[in-house]
């Protein structure tokens, strides 16, 4: 990783009403990189998927803390880590398959697929009973100076 130029860590209670807060907080923080609308929507969507996964799958019918860490590096990259201490994922490669879900019928099973296609890098680590860590990176296109 290049040098970190700014960083924020936010702790959220895993309630679904906090998903929009996570997206908004992320948007405000990465505005300093002046992303275009597509880049902003891509990152917001990926974070929304990760936070939703922690709430729906990680904590299921319980409430726990989700930690969102965002770093901006001097190579114009946004590094995001979403961490929960929920039930974890038994089989990560299965969970990353498109259309696979352990959730209710209002879940599409496309969360990891969307994160993967909207971000430049995605890694998932998890221990059953301990929790899940999702790391994502996206480079923001540098604007030409006028």
């Amino acid at each position: 990783m290049k040098n970190v130029v700014n960083e924020v860590t936010i702790k959220l209670l895993g309630k679904s009403c906090n998903e929009s807060f996570a997206r908004s907080a992320l948007s405000f923080f990465i505005m300093q990189l002046d992303p275009n609308i597509d880049e902003l929507n891509d990152i917001k969507t990926a974070v929304s998927e990760a936070v939703t996964n922690s709430i729906v799958h990680g904590y299921r019918n319980t409430l726990g803390i989700i930690t969102m860490n965002i770093k901006i590096t001097d190579d114009n990259c946004v590094h995001i880590i979403i961490r929960d201490k929920g039930c974890g994922i038994e089989n990560i490669s299965k969970a990353r398959e498109p259309m696979f879900t352990t959730g209710d019928s209002d879940r599409s099973g496309m969360g990891f697929t969307i994160m993967e296609s909207f971000m430049d890098k995605l890694s998932v680590s998890s221990k059953p009973g301990k929790g899940t860590v999702v790391k994502m990176v996206k480079k923001i296109t540098a604007k030409k100076e006028s």
Binding site: S16, C17, E19, S20, R23, I37, D38, N41, D42, K44, T45, S48, E49, T52, I55, V56, P98, M99, S105, D106, R107, S108, M110, G111, T113, I114, S117, F118
Partner: protein, 101 residues
């Protein structure tokens, strides 16, 4: 998120505005189902252009709307502009079963 409906002849237009994530999805699915279920329309348009944000919850909302419309013999189309919302729906292959306009 808000849902508003307009009726033009036999066409029902359901317009979603605001943000559609997991928190809003269950309510959206239920409201859209209510709008479509009485079956007095031949066609329906699910208009997503007013949404300022949508994640993969939108896939489940569109799929549920499609199934409800199918059961009520209504032909459903989805109105969505190019951009992240359309990319999400395309990632799930919904263009293979639903017309995008």
């Amino acid at each position: 998120m808000k849902i508003k409906s307009e009726i033009r002849g036999s066409i029902l237009k359901i317009c979603l505005t605001g943000e559609l994530g997991h928190h809003e999805a269950i309510e959206a699915i239920s409201q859209i189902k209510d709008e479509l279920s009485d079956g007095k329309y031949l066609q329906a348009v699910l208009d997503l252009t007013g949404l300022s944000f949508m994640d993969s919850s939108g896939i489940a909302v569109v799929m549920k709307a499609y199934k409800t419309a199918q059961n009520a013999d209504i032909k459903l189309a989805v109105k969505v502009e190019n951009g992240h919302k359309k990319r999400i729906l395309l990632a799930a292959g919904l263009n293979k079963i639903i017309d995008f306009i």
